[in-house]
Amino acid sequence: MKHEALLSKEFLSGATFMLIAALALYFGRDLTIGTATRMGPGFFPLGLALCLMAIGLAAAVKGLLFGGELVERTTFRPFFVFLAVLCFAVLIGPFGLVAALTALIGIGSLSGMAIRPLQVLALIVLLCVFSWAVFVWGLNMPLAIWPF
């Protein structure tokens, strides 16, 4: 067994599948399984989780034995996208559209290729006006625009 087999896509996805199956089994432990004639709520998930466990095991073993394609190194800057959307989720309710979009685009722009601060500002203004026109005025969505 080679050390780098642990970094193969096949092994890691197998491990992920097994983890998901284990979580499904753990959180579904209180669901009634029932009988075949009267399937309980736990019947179908239990079957699925066991199948997924078997597939995960097969993939993991295959990855360990044969290695295969390795996962690539990732760059972490683009993950600002996720942070940006989380900030949007926090801000949109209490503070309204403008604040939420400013955070979304401001933080989101950190994730990409070089955008100059002035361009970010222009994008924010442009997209705020656009969203007001399309979503609030055009589609009548109940979105607060300002925090007050």
Binding site: G28, P78, L104, M113, L139
Partner: protein, 497 residues
Amino acid sequence: MELVDNLILGFGTALSLENLAYCLAGTVLGTMIGILPGLGPAATIAILLPFTYGLPAEGALIMLAGIFYGAQYGGSTTAILVNLPGESSSMITCIDGHEMARRGRAGPALAIAAFGSLFAGCLGTLFVAVLGPMLARWALAFGPAEYFSLMVLGLVAAAMLSSGSQLRAIGMIFVGLLLGCVGTEVATGTARYSFGFYELVDGVSFVVVAMGIFGLSEIVLNLQQPGESSLLREKIGRIMPSRDELRRSVGPILRGTGIGAIVGAIPGAGATIASFASYAVERKLSRTPERFGQGAIEGVAAPESANNASAQTSFIPTLALGLPGSGTMALMLGALLIQGIAPGPMVATRHPEVFWGLIASMWIGNVFLVLLNLPLVGLWVRFLSIPYKYLFPAILLFCSIGVYSIRNNPFDVVLMVVFGMFGYLLRWLGCQPAPMLLGLILGPMMEENIRRALVISRGDATVLVTQPLSLAMLVAAGLLLLVVIFPTIKRAAYAFR
């Protein structure tokens, strides 16, 4: 003639001013995103799904379908002019299409691609109109056992024919099926896997998952690619093909349409496989195969016809059986569900205006697309000069506001981020997200059908193999599995020897 009556009803629906506008909007948007690499029809349809809650069912489906087949037209433009596949189904068109453009024949290449697509689209739609209702009528006799086995077959086919590791694709189906279990169980009303969040009691929203996986994680993947601005280098020139080029294209267009129409109707196969297969066939049939790769018009005509024909016929299993064959088709099925229409063989009879209106709109849309693409191609390629760094904030905005607007609940936005990260992790591991989406949408239906089948048979699981049709479908699924897995097992056995 029943078909004629139905088509009259369909055109009556599709030709209303409102639906014409939806069709035009869909095809324009489809062309645009088809031209832009890095933004595909799946992502676009996912992002627009939440905005269709307020639309009438016909309008929503007409528009979303227009995006899907419109993208096939747009994709060829990028392939020919800049040697980049705007869509994966146009990959093979790059070879000869771009070579033609380099030799100053970009105009004819675009024209043949558009004419081929028009012909293929119209014929493919005819297949949907004729075969769809036939298939649906046949499927009306299905009991729950047959349905369960049909879905098994559909899922196995989708996993086996997807690109990448098939083992992982099967795993992804089960992940999707498990996700489909989240929420209230129908028979007893027990909340499963809701982790105390009342938002999860209704289940994981299909729209939120699709947006996270096709919207957010795709943005992250695109941002990780080193930035390159695609420059338009080739002049388009005269559009009209020469007589020789037209003559050479007739056969490839006909054969490409046939191949595409058949391949498209198979779950899991789809436009990319169809275009590759038709290119290979043309090369094999050609008396001068050495011309391929050197700007042969056949190498543009065949794959472009094939991908458009298959785009239309992939609606056959989706509409007639409720069995989506690809991620995009799963999204179309999701759009039906949003409109409160239960997918399955009843759609054509219970909602004829939706079914036939959609079919009629495909003909209209294909004509729109030729009119939009050929004279305006110079305008469309300008979109290529928009750098992604200005594009992705707009996509982010649509994702965030769209998901929030479903029920004005920030929880859904957070859930989208969770699925975006999950989708990113899975793609990093080389797992295709489409099978998961199919599992998520088919899961509840499979559970319902197996429950009913077991109640009818009093708990006897052999019902799945004693009904001849159900047995046939399971055997087909088993054979498909064997065909794909056997080489792997043989390789493993060989390695141990």
